[in-house]
């Protein structure tokens, strides 16, 4: 009996611990940030957080939102296991009653279900058609879900347009496509394959690889035999891209190399430095830099670089902008918790960002647009330099494409 008593006391403690309602300081507005702090996605998570943090600090420095300070509430969304995603939503929206949620990668569709149960605006960068399809099931229910980048399919099409527009004479029409075996990699890989075929190219090799491949000898030897004019690698992670490039450069073949999104993780240019010169890639919803198109943008870039001592990585700027867009809507509506109105305003008016107005489409997807373009980069002098913005596909002011040094 004593045991059982001891037992139940432990239990009651736990119970009390759990449902003790969390007291929210009345003078702050909580903002949820479910971003991986551990696990395989922690790297990209860090980049998104930099943008979000910057925005919220700005707002707080300028007197807060409706006179109240914003308070960041983080949640480690680990590896996006279903119950973790669900848990994040219920913790932030249900428990902490946050006024909005700002994420990066967030679960490729699971997140739509999890946050659709609530009304607080939720900004994610899933970049996947699957997430959009879920939204389409019930737009009324999921009206508070916003995608801050275009889907993989569209990004891939943009990549293709850029690659075709390069001021460079392809010696042949053979392409090799390498992509990861997750939804992003496949979505982009498939789209590229289609587009290339449709334009009379031969996809000489299509390799789908798991994460964590660091030995490229086999593929590279095949590439040497194929002698493609173009190699596209779509791996949203630093390590694989770097090892690929390093091993490719040991005996390069005359091919343009495009890393797609994979060029944006900072470690790629950090590790490769000048040896990466000539490689091209893209950043969705990006702010061209280091030389920005206008002072407003330039000021932003300078501030970011000042804060974090490196150029702007993928996601940082758009995550920043999403916070600002939400904050703007709130100030217009005048109540952070009038979710209906806030969402309506965001959907209706979008936001006037550094590059002009951005607007979400009927699927709440921030399609590639002049206000938040897909930026195509080339590594020049060991740093990313914008060469195109899309849409519409226009060469970036004062930029020029350099033929990669390894091409003879």
């Amino acid at each position: 009996m004593k045991k059982i008593l001891r037992f139940s006391t432990i239990w009651l403690f736990l119970g009390v611990f759990l449902f003790s309602p969390t007291v929210m300081a009345a003078d702050t507005i909580p903002v949820g940030v479910p971003i991986p702090m551990t696990g395989w996605a922690a790297g990209s998570g860090a980049d998104y957080f930099k943008g979000i943090k910057m925005a919220i600090d700005e707002i707080n420095e300028s007197g807060g939102l409706l006179g109240k300070q914003l308070e960041i509430i983080r949640f480690d969304s680990k590896g996006f296991e279903p119950e973790v995603v669900m848990q994040a939503a219920d913790y932030l929206c249900g428990q902490k009653n946050v006024a909005s949620v700002h994420a990066g990668w967030a679960g490729w569709g699971q997140d739509v279900r999890a946050y659709g149960k609530y009304d607080a605006p939720f900004f994610a960068d899933d970049g996947s058609q699957a997430a959009v399809d879920i939204f389409k099931e019930d737009p009324a229910k999921y009206y508070n879900i916003y995608q801050t980048t275009d889907v993989g399919v569209e990004q891939a099409k943009s990549m293709f347009r850029a690659l075709m527009a390069l001021p460079y004479e392809y010696p042949n029409k053979k392409v090799v496509i390498i992509n990861t075996d997750d939804s992003w990699g496949l979505e982009v890989g498939d789209t590229l394959e289609k587009s290339f075929k449709a334009n009379g190219w031969k996809v000489s090799k299509r390799e789908t690889v798991p994460y964590g491949i660091n030995e490229w000898g086999v593929i590279l030897s095949q590439i040497r035999r194929i002698k493609p004019a173009l190699i596209h690698v779509e791996i949203p992670s630093g390590q694989e891209n770097i090892t690929f490039i390093q091993q490719f450069l040991k005996k390069p073949s005359n091919a343009i190399i495009s890393l797609g999104w994979g060029i944006t993780p900072r470690e790629v240019v950090d590790a490769l430095g000048e040896s990466a010169d000539g490689i091209v890639g893209e950043m969705p919803s990006g702010l061209p830099g280091p030389k920005a198109p206008n002072e407003k943008a330039q000021a932003w870039v300078d501030k970011f670089v000042g804060l974090y001592e490196h150029q702007v990585p993928a996601g940082a700027w758009i995550a920043y902008t999403a916070v600002k867009a939400w904050a703007h809507a709130v100030t217009q509506v005048g109540d952070a918790y009038d979710f209906k109105a806030v969402n309506a305003y965001i959907k209706e008016n979008g936001y006037e960002g550094e590059l002009g107005r951005i607007k979400w489409d009927q699927d709440n997807v921030l399609r590639a647009q002049s206000g938040a373009p897909v930026v195509h980069y080339q590594v020049q002098g060991g740093e990313l330099q914008p060469i195109f913005t899309d849409p519409p596909l226009t060469p970036y002011q004062g930029s020029q494409f350099l033929t990669p040094p390894w091409i003879k």
């Binding site: 790297g43 030897s221 035999r225 630093g238 390590q239």
Partner: protein, 300 residues
Amino acid sequence: MFSEDTILLFYEITDVIIAGLSTGSVYALMAVGMTLVYGVTKAFNFAYGDFFNMGGYFAWILIVGLGLEFGGYPVILLIVMPLLFAVGYGLEKLLVAPLRKRKDWENKVMMMTLGLALFLTSLYMVVFGVRMKSLPPILEGTLEVGQLVFSYQDIMIFVMSISGILIFAWMLNNTRIGMAVRAVAQNPVGATIVGIPKERIFATTFAISTVMVGFGGILLSQKWFINPNSGGIIMVKAWVVTALGGMGSIRGGLYAAFIIGMLEAFVGWMFGMSYGIIALFVLLLATLVLRPQGLRGKGE
């Protein structure tokens, strides 16, 4: 007499074989420490892969963190390897030895090291950040034989890992401590009877294996970079190699390492890289069903 395509194909196959060999040598280096510990102490170490990264991080601290230029990698190894030895020895005494007295301690050690792995991985993330770290290459440049390309880096890795293993094997067979280690592996009771201090040998073995895998970590981090998350997969690779070779059998481990290296290279070449891991486990399962002891049972 040969069409150009056949010649290119020949080169390609040679490339695949080379890739297989270099991966094999790496796996050998990874596996040898693990099989040693299992053979001698019967303890299974799940944190093995994180010791691999530990080697890398120590080197990184010296080279990048402290900006040590003097002497390059030889000096780094000279500093890091004793450090790893100390860490291994300490951890064994502190964490593994106490468990050894308990009932079904093998399982308890497995779980403890699993926790240790979780701890180290996340600790790396907290301390060194979630981004991977890179080390300067040992050697630059490539050696070209006709169509074939050998990077000096790869040659270096191959040579150093193989010689590392050979030195280790030599010590095992020809030094007093080495003989003691083998004695404990073959017959712990007998070892005690002749007055070999078993506990010290256990700790030493654990430390040696830490040094071996840490050495591998340094060697490969300058090609693959240091990734705080990679510990788990490295451990599994080493595990598969050891199991296939027969846990406790160093020679078996060597065979297995190169077999697997080749398998991965050829499967990747013929069917695509994503089939590597499946092929790996199919091979493993088949082997274990036919030979529950692995390729070469019992430690020699």
